[in-house]
Symmetry: C2
Subunit: 693 residues, 2 copies
């Protein structure tokens, strides 16, 4: 039996190869195919299905159409309360029309539901356009007929990778970024079993939104690459699709309700999901083909776009305007949490300004920290968004100014905690006057206390008191939390007005998480790293995609909800410190005053291991990042400053290709002047000899 | 304004107090109330709503009815595709009838939808019965009329805690167990901000199933306690409700769709959710009232029930029958992962039996490990569920027997990896012949590769080869994975048949995760700890609830998907080791052969710190567990062996109430003979002096 199977398989491979040979060896358009091509790529449209393949000529790699059912796209229609995805290649009429040498127009008219019923009056019009090494794919229009048409996944399952056959990755800028390898063998240590299982479960597929602070994408691009070639899709700046991912999944999720096994292979693909009812956008994705490319090249392709779109303003330019930006170099970001903003003068957690002074002094004198950015949470008498006056019970302006003066004396930065986007239910003065409302007057964000204030009212809240605080304390820095953690899909004039106002103060400006749209106005983002919830990291590897685009435009520190001192799925202090030097990020320590003593050793180590690297790479472009061991634990990065960082994120010592051994949780940094720092983190225990009492 | 508010509040409190005084000071039944009572508790039913209060007389604590809307219960009806929860206290007719001194019969006839429409023909009949310190609450019948009635939450929002007013906890046996404090002040370190926010978001409410391996409950009980009194609800052994939780949430989730703020207070409560269409069960929960009780007393109340229900067979008795059980004492559970069961002879991960011998030898000779249980993943030539023959390419029976003999020589245990519940899609011999099917012949578990085989076919699979392997290797232990990780809501005869067969072999028997129903047949559960997905731990503290019930009946080791060597939300090696000694669990190290070198230091430390405690407490009851610092990081446990363990799970040194200082990540163990072991885990780094090259 087995032998017969094998023989039939071989035969099929042969037939398919011959088919491919005839199809692609013949440059002349035949009856079933429409071809546009240039010297870099050749796009072949199957006139029967409207799906297309792309031959990347430099490496002769053929990106096939949907390997499961050759669908060109999937149209989502809400039908009797149920969402159904119609394969548009099932349309009663498909027109493929070549226009000149570089363009193909497609129309899909009357697609069919799975039961065969036709969605009459529904049609989809798209275009494929060649521009040098780029293929533009655009949804020109969708006629909805009488149907509730919500979304179009187009192109679907294009540029896919076959699991364990193609040795590449799907590259996704979720938060700081991840790559999802398309091969699950060979190694991933003991965790491998979770990876392999995940690929057959639903969690390896799903939909991610753009520009949110939860699981979303921080940049509007994604891509796939094999060992020899890469393709990156960059979404038009006006558009706002979701991204559908299927990572080494065999599509079993399509068959569970039917009670049968999926007949498909495991593949990895990433689809744009266009929102049909979102108007005033160009539903276009531009695929750039990069021979021999990988995640670094994809990020660099987008970097050009980001510069063009005005998101990129360099830290160097920012430091020219405000030399205090230089103080961020090598700084440890110290969040001192006094229970505020959640509560004012919270018992057991609030600090007096004298205590804050002591913490700052200890950080300098005892711990020897060279650079720090102190962020004090809990200095006001009122709840957010009323960040004023400075709390007299804790020491008043005089006491807090002493703390601020200390930071200046040591060359540190200081900001109090500010937020203008939130009113809290437990505030005794709580009311909904500032809430965003919909047209009917209903409150819009009742379910999110940190985003309930109308964005157009936030500038006014900042203007009420921020200037008073700056004057009273003679501040050099400001952190305004939350408002800029997302880029809502609406008119964001209110947010930009707040950002511009903060920027106009010419302080060292920081904000939480951050989004690329706000980079021109800020110097640091707290937390464009990874959240403690797992998401894609369960079957992927973290990659510094955001930093490959923006490292030299914005300083990145850890997320306050998952600081470097906390143990989480993202690592403990050892792993997070290694990732900091690899990605070119600063250390984040977030603690309540009573915890300070427990932070000291970590602060000391961060100052010795992380800060020197961050100091040298601060203004530099992150030029390269690579995985250099089979289990992806050993990684290397390079900065335009000439700095090279090698880290081992796992417990096992491993050798680089050059034969250099890096110990478990170890690192080797080569600075621009040739100095080398190397070492490793160790776990040990002190035990008193067991004694009898 | 503020003063007026306060005055009105005070006035309201006064009125309410007077009302309460009149209501509960008057023991005679009045027109609106029906009362049953004994010397321990007094149950007062409001005849208008059918909801009830319980006065626990010893501490004079009044457990109020639903503090939000005084609902007696919530009935879920699927109406035009939408689920709606009907407050049964809105019923057109509510009958409350006292029967004798100890029983009240209630009926709720024709409840109303939110729009006022009446669900005609629907009625709910319940009983409240007093039995000494216990209140039995039983749903006697539900008439569904013409409606699609799916669930009944009853009683609802009873025994609730008011957040930050009641200083207690909701106690939930999710996995090993958690407590969710009902007060969020004072301290929880920097993490406090996540806690506080979570209480206003949807994630602090939800529904948990019983007996699954994901987020479910491992035992059918839960409870709430204040500072002075506790109540635990134990579900009837025949029943299978879900549990609804609302942890310090103000019910905002009920109002988001309306665009208004919730008018309710933050409360914590736990409700049984009865499945109306589940027949042949007694829908009964017995509430036991425990003056001065906490989570330990609740677990101990259930322990009595578990013994009665036959789930409890002591490890002592198991060791009498098979003295090799003694070898589990203090054992480090070593999972050696060769890529199997996922792949056979997986490149880069498979080990030869010579390599396995070397690992075992090194563990003994170099690392000095006293007790170990080796679990080798990858010794067969076939994929699961065909765990036979032993792979000749890797060394065959002869080679593997040498490894087994070594474990015997050192006093260790050994098992190969076995599973009979799974066929894998990537197995070249894959087919669906063994799959569970529904009545129509559809495959039932297509979405879960580890549970796709019909439970009634699993015994046959074990019987095909397990005896051959035992004979060939002269085995003393067996681990059979997966089958017993859940207790499906169906006829489980097939699983019991497999369990009984394995038990009949009289080996040291282990299985993955485990469920209480299988304790009589096994000696160890791998992973009745916590999964790496966060669930309730985001706003709760881990508590050894399962171990408080079953520690002396089943040995518990870490979960292979989150072993002690791996960094996750459950901690890194430091935190997990401390939790192991606190809860009385063994160390778990799971690794691929190439990672062994990176495991050595952890194995060595585990043998010195964890094993001695596990050895002494192995057969002992876990008698006590308490949180002894304001931030819950400092914890103490006691075992019936006389052993006392104090650990500090946080980085900050803290003092016990007796003034003893425990360093960050530190411990103090007092053994039964008075010997004291104390120490702490430290993080350090070695660095070569920075040099220029």
């Amino acid at each position: 039996m087995k032998r017969n199977d094998k023989f039939i398989r071989l035969l099929m491979v042969l037939f398919l190869s011959i088919g491919t040979f005839f199809t692609y060896a013949n440059p002349i358009k035949n009856a079933a195919l429409t071809v546009i091509e240039n010297n870099k790529i050749k796009v072949t449209v199957d006139e029967k299905t409207g799906s297309f393949t792309v031959l990347e000529k430099t490496t002769n790699h053929l990106w096939e159409a949907d390997p499961w059912v050759k669908a060109a796209g999937l149209l989502t229609i809400k039908n009797q309360g149920k969402l159904e995805n119609l394969n548009i290649s099932s349309s009663k009429k498909i027109d493929v029309e070549q226009i000149g040498n570089d363009k193909v127009k497609l129309s899909f008219v009357n697609p069919a539901f799975e039961n065969g019923e036709v969605a009459k009056g529904v049609s989809i019009n798209t275009e494929l356009r060649l521009k040098d090494g780029i293929l533009e794919v655009e949804v020109m229009s969708v006629e909805k007929g009488e149907y509730n048409v919500t979304e179009l996944r187009y192109p679907t399952r294009a540029f896919s990778l076959e699991t364990d056959v193609d040795k590449g990755a799907a590259v996704i800028p979720q938060k700081q970024g991840v790559i999802c390898p398309s091969y699950i063998s060979p190694m991933n240590g003991g965790s491998f079993c979770m990876w392999d299982d995940a690929t057959y479960y639903r969690k390896t597929s799903g939909k991610l939104p753009l520009f949110n602070n939860g699981i979303g994408l921080t940049m509007p691009w994604w891509g796939t690459h094999t060992e020899k070639t890469a393709v990156v899709g960059i979404v038009d700046v006006s558009a706002r699709p979701d991204m559908f991912y299927n990572i080494n999944n065999n599509g079993q999720y399509l068959f569970n309700s039917k009670g049968v096994m999926s007949p498909y292979k495991r593949i990895a693909f990433l689809d744009p999901v266009w929102k049909i009812n979102r108007e005033n956008e160009r539903k276009m994705i531009s695929y750039e083909f990069i021979p021999n490319g990988n995640h670094v090249d994809m990020a660099k392709a987008y970097r050009k776009e980001a510069i063009k779109d005005g998101y990129f303003v360099s830290l160097k330019d920012k430091a020219k305007r405000d030399p205090n930006v230089n103080k961020l170099q090598g700084a440890i970001y110290m969040g001192v949490y006094g229970g505020y903003p959640h509560y004012v003068e919270m018992p057991g957690m609030a600090f007096t300004f004298k205590e804050l002074q002591d913490i700052i002094k200890t950080t300098h004198d005892e711990l020897g920290v060279d650079n720090a950015f102190f962020h004090a949470w809990g200095v006001f008498s009122n709840f957010v968004p009323n960040c004023w006056p400075i709390n007299e019970n804790l020491g008043g302006v005089k006491g807090l100014k002493k703390a601020v003066d200390l930071t200046k004396k040591y060359g540190y930065l200081y900001s109090s905690y500010h937020a203008y986007s939130a009113t809290l239910e437990n505030d005794p003065e709580f009311n909904t006057d500032l809430f965003a409302r919909d047209k009917e007057g209903k409150l819009r964000n009742t379910g999110s206390r940190w985003a309930n204030i109308d964005q157009n009212k936030q500038l006014g809240l900042a203007q009420k008191s921020l200037h008073k605080e700056i004057a009273a304390l003679e501040l050099e820095a400001d952190i305004t939390d939350i408002s800029f953690a997302t880029f809502p899909d609406e008119d964001n004039t209110g947010l930009f007005n707040l950002a511009k106002y903060i920027d106009s103060l010419n302080l060292v400006n920081g904000t939480e998480h951050g989004q690329q749209q706000f980079i021109p106005y800020f110097d640091m983002f707290e937390g464009l790293t990874y959240l403690p919830n797992p998401n894609l990291v369960q079957f992927s590897h973290r990659a510094p995609l955001f930093n490959l685009v923006y490292h030299d435009a914005i300083a990145i520190f850890g997320k306050i909800q998952d600081p470097d001192n906390q143990i989480s799925i993202n690592g403990d202090f050892r792993v997070k410190s290694l990732r900091n030097i690899l990605f070119g990020m600063g250390t984040t320590i977030f603690f309540s005053p009573y915890e300070f003593d427990g932070m000291k050793e970590m602060i000391r180590i961060a100052n010795q291991v992380v800060s020197p690297v961050n100091r040298e790479t601060f203004f530099a472009e992150l030029t390269n990042h690579e995985y250099i061991s089979d289990d992806f634990k050993l990684q290397r990065s390079n900065f335009s400053s000439g700095t090279e960082v090698i880290v081992n994120l796992g417990p096992v010592k491993q050798a680089t290709k050059e034969g250099e051994m890096i110990p478990g949780y170890g690192y080797k940094v080569t600075f621009s002047d040739g100095r080398v720092a190397q070492g490793s983190f160790n776990l040990s225990y002190n035990a008193s000899p067991t004694k009898k009492i």
